[in-house]
């Protein structure tokens, strides 16, 4: 029997209420640590922290519009071998979806982790967030969630959400063990808490939170948001398809790319320990560059820019969750996420697959059926 309960909010202190909840989780049996974003004393930035002592949760800030990394990689690091204890991880929906992909790719395990999925209010691009926290991070967090949850706007000043978030149709976590609901709640009074799996239920049972029902309006608020996001997304797909429809336009799209491969490093589902593009395979012989230059008259240096991006699309687009960290990591502001999500939608649909949807569905390129895709065979 799933538990639906509430976390009471007093004196409009939502972060305080969440802190209390996380402290209580840490005090329950089985949970030895909690992974949660905190703003650090250094420079006010928000980063994931692994906390073992309940009194070390003062800086928690999971509602900050900050997304320094997709923490799926961190959870993968913490779960790849048995930890010897269980921990809870407070994650955004796209982080949980990326983690689901990593587990299926054998890069993490679910046994030792309890996933706490919070309704995601969206985030700003890194550089925009840095600009904002100049003014103090918890104040800016309060201003942000107040504005979003009271139905005003996700904008603070001229800064709006990152494009990945504007196009995100997953504001509510799927596949979490425990869900914390914000949308459609009266945040002056309480937040929603729900168990979604037996693991989650076991923990909530020990916490004796006041039971409640999901407010009737909540689903409507979420549906309206998803609708708005889907419209933005489809418009983005159309724009991006047009902007990359042939090689010449692709070359324009990636004209500023310097082959730094930051997008691959930041990508939560690009899991290869050694990417082929950083191996000696691409450390061509000097005479090879000359041959290329002679054949075509001119080659752009560094070479293999489009080759890299199209190959990465082939290698990981079926696992792309659209978190937008690739765009965040680009030093030259190339809209990487836009292209990857656009192509990923096609490749995932081709295999009737959706990244992050289910632990049960095999990654498309890891399996095959005897009778399938007859249309791609033959020359007629």
């Amino acid at each position: 029997m799933a538990i639906t309960a509430k976390i009471n909010v007093t004196e409009q202190d939502v972060l305080g209420a969440l802190r209390g909840f996380f402290e209580d989780i840490l005090k329950t049996e089985y949970i030895s640590a909690i992974l949660v974003p905190q703003h650090l004393p250094m420079k006010n930035l928000v980063m994931p922290t692994l906390v073992a002592e309940p009194n070390q949760l003062n800086g928690i800030d999971p509602l900050a519009p900050a997304f320094p990394m997709n923490a799926a990689g961190i959870v993968s690091r913490l779960t790849r071998k048995p930890m010897g204890a269980k921990f809870a991880a407070v994650l955004r929906p796209c982080e949980i979806r990326a983690f689901v992909e990593l587990v299926k790719l054998k890069q993490g395990r679910t046994e030792d982790v309890v996933l706490i999925g919070m309704d995601c209010l969206g985030v700003f691009q890194n550089k925009n967030y840095f600009q904002l926290v100049g003014q103090g991070s918890s104040e800016s967090t309060v201003a942000f969630y107040e504005s979003v949850l009271r139905g005003k706007s996700s904008k603070i000043g001229d800064i709006d959400l990152a494009p990945a978030c504007m196009a995100c149709e997953y504001p509510v976590a799927e596949n979490a063990d425990i869900l914390i609901g914000l949308y459609g709640m009266d945040i002056d009074r309480s937040l929603l808490v729900q168990s979604r799996t037996e693991n989650g239920e076991q923990i909530l049972k020990q916490m004796n939170l006041p039971a409640t029902d999901e407010p009737r309006g909540r689903q409507d608020v979420i549906n309206a948001l998803i609708k708005q996001r889907t419209t933005y997304r489809d418009d983005m797909f159309a724009r991006t398809r047009e902007a990359a429809e042939n090689l010449e336009k692709m070359s324009t799209y990636f004209a500023a790319c310097v082959n730094c491969y930051n997008c691959r490093v930041a990508c939560p589902v690009c899991y290869c320990k050694e990417c082929v593009f950083v191996t000696d395979v691409f450390n061509h012989d000097p005479s090879q560059y000359l041959r290329w230059a002679r054949r075509k008259g001119i080659v752009k240096m560094p070479t293999d820019t489009l080759f890299y991006h199209i190959t990465r699309l082939a290698h990981m687009s079926t696992a792309c969750v659209g978190c937008g960290q690739c765009s965040n990591a680009c030093p030259n502001d190339i809209p990487v996420m836009e292209l990857f999500r656009t192509i990923a939608q096609g490749t995932q649909r081709a295999f009737d697959y959706e990244a992050g949807r289910s632990l049960e569905e095999d990654p498309p390129l890891s399996v095959f059926r005897e009778n399938e895709f007859a249309e791609v065979v033959g020359i007629n």
Partner: protein
């Protein structure tokens, strides 16, 4: 102006299609020299990046050919290849490569005659499509 002669990069599996190509040769069957064959141990080892590289270097067509379903020397490499072709046929057309430029066929070791026929048909098709967009352009 001379007729357009396409370049078609072909990955043939060692056990079936490459043997069929050998058979076509020893049987003195002729097929166009536009096919640049690369022998691989199995179609299942053709990483999508090989296909992408061939196209970006200006290949007008790419053919991958291996054993019929059930005949794979490594049991199921050809099924894996089929999924990768399905994937590439989703990606490459988005960037302006016509889907007909990428082909997958099953040609068994004893199908020498069929091999030569398919090569002739394929070259005719790619000729009709004209040169690929990547030819002679600076691709970044």
């Amino acid at each position: 102006m001379s007729e357009f002669e396409p370049t078609i990069v072909a990955f043939f599996c060692n056990w079936c299609t490459y043997t069929a190509a050998d058979l076509a040769g020893t049987s003195r069957l002729s097929y166009p020299s536009n096919i640049k064959s690369i022998r691989v141990m199995c179609t299942g080892m053709v990483d999508p990046q090989y296909v992408i590289k061939a196209f970006l270097e200006g290949a007008d067509g790419v053919l991958i050919s291996g054993c019929h379903p059930g005949d794979c020397h490594y049991i199921n490499g050809n099924f894996k290849a089929r999924r990768r072709i399905k994937l590439l046929k989703e990606i490459l057309p988005q960037f302006g490569f016509e889907p007909q430029r990428l082909r997958l066929t099953w040609i068994g070791a004893s199908d020498g005659i069929q091999f030569a026929e398919i090569m002739r048909d394929l070259v005719a098709q790619i000729k009709a499509l004209g040169p690929s967009q990547a030819r002679l352009k600076m691709v970044i």
